[in-house]
Symmetry: C2
Subunit: 219 residues, 2 copies
């Protein structure tokens, strides 16, 4: 299809499509003449993914670039599926995709200067064993330092409740990973990590409203 | 203290402090001469709160303005504490603060044009009763529509797991609300709603890494 048709099908303007191609987020079309190129269904899918990561995931274009590069790299690194994917291959695909995703998401974040002491204390309280160099530890440290600054640090009970909820969600993500090829598992892990975050945040707000409603009906 | 001292104590530049005053996020100091004003500890606290909402909560200046206006309005609306705050007064303060916070956070978001059908179906599946006009329903609808667009909609099992986790977190927030005056409860609810979101997101990523680590040690 022409770029105008690609634009019509996805609702993304031609100028924005050209910008994504220049930034390396979207592969260029197949040249037809000096000034026109041909686009296919893969371009439609990729554009929809970019829009979801920008609009729903609220990621910057730079971070989308990092994430798509990680996705492409991880998909290419998977063995071609021949027959049923073993549990071992499945676990390896998820493991590799999780690390690549978190690193891509943290690529734009400023590095934390000191050791993430609050985050490491939280891991110890939860009994979790994560890589001390994990980028997510830096995120947690920043969040906890911000709560300290406004004198609202979590109690140990609150931390345990959040940790338990986070683990339940991660287990559901893992259980919900499709029984497909390693490449499909990678895609689900990378994209799901980003696009399920706003679902969790919206549901937390709705859960607050649900609880408030229950307290009202008990008056 | 002078504005230079306020800047030194909070690490916020004088130009940024003046910008926050112009935008109405921070009250002006008490005039001392035509060109200087006096600032106090309340300015230090408010500046730290603004920085946390911007840096940790990732809110725009407009949204911070909406949120602080909601906080000030809700605090002023609470009766002065005389003696112990009753459970009824406590529940009323939380109820009012939750609604005001969600509305402030959603003030900048584009309105969704159609009924939030996916979000309402999710509420029905979870057995939750929320106001159909809730701004958080619009957020959930947007998140679910994005997942539909990339062909990764949640299964009912995933939705239930996320809903259960969200409710556990909301219950922990409620249990962790300090037994203080209604104004303190409001402050905890408004600020906690925003600043605990990044904690939950970081913990979800760390939970993924913890699960991946467990699967590796079981090889």
């Amino acid at each position: 299809m022409k770029i105008s048709e690609l634009s019509r099908r996805t609702g993304v303007t031609v100028a924005t499509i050209k910008y994504y191609i220049r930034e390396g987020l979207l592969p260029a079309g197949t040249p037809v003449t000096v000034t026109t190129a041909d686009y296919d269904a893969a371009h439609v899918d990729r554009l929809r993914l970019i829009r979801a990561l920008v609009d729903i995931g609220q990621l910057s274009i730079t971070t989308v670039g990092e994430l798509l590069a990680a996705l492409d790299r991880e998909e290419a690194a998977q063995p071609t599926a021949n027959g049923r994917t073993t549990n071992k291959a499945r676990a390896a695909a998820v493991r590799s995709a999780v690390t690549a995703t978190h690193d891509a998401l943290a690529a734009g974040a400023p590095p934390i200067s000191a050791a993430p002491e609050r985050a490491l204390a939280a891991m110890a309280a939860l009994g979790w064993t994560v890589d001390p160099k994990s980028s997510a530890l830096g995120q947690l440290e920043t969040a906890l330092a911000g709560l300290d600054a406004v004198l609202l640090p979590p109690s140990e009970a609150t931390l345990r409740a959040y940790g338990g909820a986070a683990l339940a969600v991660a287990e559901a993500d893992s259980a919900g990973t499709p029984a497909g090829s390693p490449a499909e598992i990678v895609r689900h892990t990378v994209i799901g990590t980003v696009l399920y975050e706003p679902v969790l945040i919206a549901l937390r707000r709705l859960a607050q409203e649900e609880l408030v409603g229950r307290s009202r009906s008990q008056r």
